[in-house]
């Protein structure tokens, strides 16, 4: 990994269209500004990992899982509309 030392207000350029600016430094926190084209998604690493995990879980759905899920949902729907009929 490339490691660079920067001071507050200094920046790093990646390619010709991404700029990363160190905007503030606290004792154990760094505030970073990112200037990038709108079409480049930027994520906090831990959020990216959570989304990855969620997606892998979602991708493990089998066709019969969906059938069963639809059944559970329609049962819930029936229960709900049943309750609405109560005075």
């Amino acid at each position: 990994m490339l490691v660079l030392t920067r001071k507050v207000g200094e920046s790093i350029r990646i390619g010709d269209d991404i700029e990363i600016v160190v905007t503030a430094i606290d004792q154990n926190k760094v505030k970073i500004g990112i200037q990038s084209p709108r079409h480049v998604p930027v994520y906090r690493e831990e959020l990216y990992q959570k989304i990855q995990e969620g997606n892998r879980e979602a991708a493990s759905m089998r066709a019969d899982d969906l059938d069963e899920m639809v059944e559970v949902l329609s049962k819930k729907g029936r229960e709900r509309s049943g309750n609405e009929d109560l005075p």
Binding site: P41, Y43, N55, A58, A63, L73
Partner: protein, 142 residues
């Protein structure tokens, strides 16, 4: 084009219905082409990878699970959305058989530009979720 899927066998599909995911989907970054496959009754569809037979997600409109997204303009601009009518939002849903638990993946809605057939997954920090997702008034259980 004939595509292979593990769940539905071989399918002959017109390439014009493919949806381009320029960045893939987190966890599946290399997969750039998907297709939406209808699924019998109910609000669900499969988002099937065109070039990876085993990868498919169950998706549905958030409204069908009683949710509604407020998509900020800059999140739509990522895929060139500037007309609201060109936007479609779908969420992934997974199901845990043991716990009979249905999980909508609220933090990672899929945004589509239906005019240009481009999509990506918008990731929302859990602390910001309330700002963008609300309960829809109309719940459609169809």
């Amino acid at each position: 084009m004939r595509i292979e899927t593990t769940r539905f066998g071989f399918l002959d599909l017109d390439e014009s219905i493919f949806i381009n995911f320029p960045w893939g989907i987190p966890g599946f970054e290399k997969i750039k082409r998907f297709v939406l496959l209808e699924q019998g009754e109910g609000p669900f569809q499969w988002l099937q990878a065109v070039d990876e037979p085993g990868v498919a997600f169950v998706v549905c409109p958030p409204e069908s699970l009683g949710m509604k997204y407020k998509v900020p303009r800059d999140k739509g601009e990522v895929i060139g959305l500037n007309q609201p009518e060109d936007m479609m939002v779908l969420i992934m849903v997974s199901f845990n058989r043991e716990r009979m638990n249905i999980r909508p993946h609220l933090r990672g809605p899929l945004l589509f530009n239906v005019a240009s057939r481009v999509g990506y997954q918008w990731s929302i920090d859990s602390r910001e979720l309330q700002r963008y997702v609300s309960e829809a008034r109309h719940v459609d259980n169809a």
